[in-house]
Symmetry: C5
Subunit: 103 residues, 5 copies
Amino acid sequence: MLVGTVIGNVWATHKDPTLEGMRLLIVQPMDAHGKGTAESVVAVDPMGAGIGERVLVVFGRAARHVIGKGHDIGFQTAICGIIDQMELGGRTYAPHVDQDKHS
Amino acid sequence: MLVGTVIGNVWATHKDPTLEGMRLLIVQPMDAHGKGTAESVVAVDPMGAGIGERVLVVFGRAARHVIGKGHDIGFQTAICGIIDQMELGGRTYAPHVDQDKHS
Amino acid sequence: MLVGTVIGNVWATHKDPTLEGMRLLIVQPMDAHGKGTAESVVAVDPMGAGIGERVLVVFGRAARHVIGKGHDIGFQTAICGIIDQMELGGRTYAPHVDQDKHS
Amino acid sequence: MLVGTVIGNVWATHKDPTLEGMRLLIVQPMDAHGKGTAESVVAVDPMGAGIGERVLVVFGRAARHVIGKGHDIGFQTAICGIIDQMELGGRTYAPHVDQDKHS
Amino acid sequence: MLVGTVIGNVWATHKDPTLEGMRLLIVQPMDAHGKGTAESVVAVDPMGAGIGERVLVVFGRAARHVIGKGHDIGFQTAICGIIDQMELGGRTYAPHVDQDKHS
């Protein structure tokens, strides 16, 4: 379970049928200093998050719960919340990350 | 299962309904030398941990057990204990981490 | 769940019987800047992906769903989609990665 | 499943009730050259391992099996064996790691 | 699920009873360029792999399937195949890794 920033979109025509109609976002996890890490994850988004928004990402069974289509699905990562406010190391962070700064 | 330090809070209004009323803390894992790593995780906190406290963090089924709301929930990381004392490499660590030192 | 690029093939004669007839591809995960990471994963490919294609990779139960041979199988990573288009940091990426550039 | 060295202890008074009476050790995983990594994990120890001993650590369901208290417990990492001998890269390693060398 | 090279053996007399009679190998995962990473994993080996051989390693439920002793066991990583041939970045790799080169 992590905080990350939405940094991109992915489209796939040829895919497992259970992915049909799912919005796939690329999320960059946040490190302990509030900066983006070098890694990326792909998450199904049932929350309607936009590019630059900070989101909560879950995995496995929790991700399947958030999607709400049972446990026989072909993905295991989902956005479960859009962050309004974050306090880290005494600083308050805005919900959006400036696109020029997140990398 | 890891030892980490509570370094921040996260608030989300738009989220999976099962997250309603849950306290979400940002935790910085501890490395093998007792220092904070570069990474962060977000954990649901049923223990009432405060900023700067060292905590035990669990994942998956163990996290769902700690929360006690069944297995149909939208998160999979939780704080399962607040550390009183820690011995590492022959040194004894205080339960709190000085905010100026943890990064 | 991650985006990666197909960079190789693996063949094994002596293997768990459930791997019989499965295509095994080596995939290099993509980082937050659209470049390949240093790591690699091996994924079963039911999608027919080719070398250099960008793919979606899933793990655990989701991978077993994608394969469609039940849960008593000896692998837990699968390709669940072939990426047509990807937008990352304001740039649009082609579906194929030039073999000279991915490393 | 990894090999690591016991490098410390953790005590927590305020914790999930299922952690009551469990011994919690800090373990430093071993890298491919037989040295300690920068990371640490916390494991429940039903084996009676001591500081400096090399141990086998398991996660998830396997950890719950090793503990033997069912699947409704608040931890998911356990020590499942104490290593007598290890051969790595043609060298034989003693069961104990000298405390001055493990970091 | 990963490709790695067998680099060592581990013996443990004091261990969970389900580990009795299991062969435990240390495996060094392969990176995206065909080289060994800094990490190591320990895997149960039902395949009879030797030092220097390239193998496929699986985790969790898939590892328990490969072992074939049910799900109440104290390990969660296993070798599920021995690699005959591997093509990566246009090069063909031999099944064995020269012991002088793998680190």
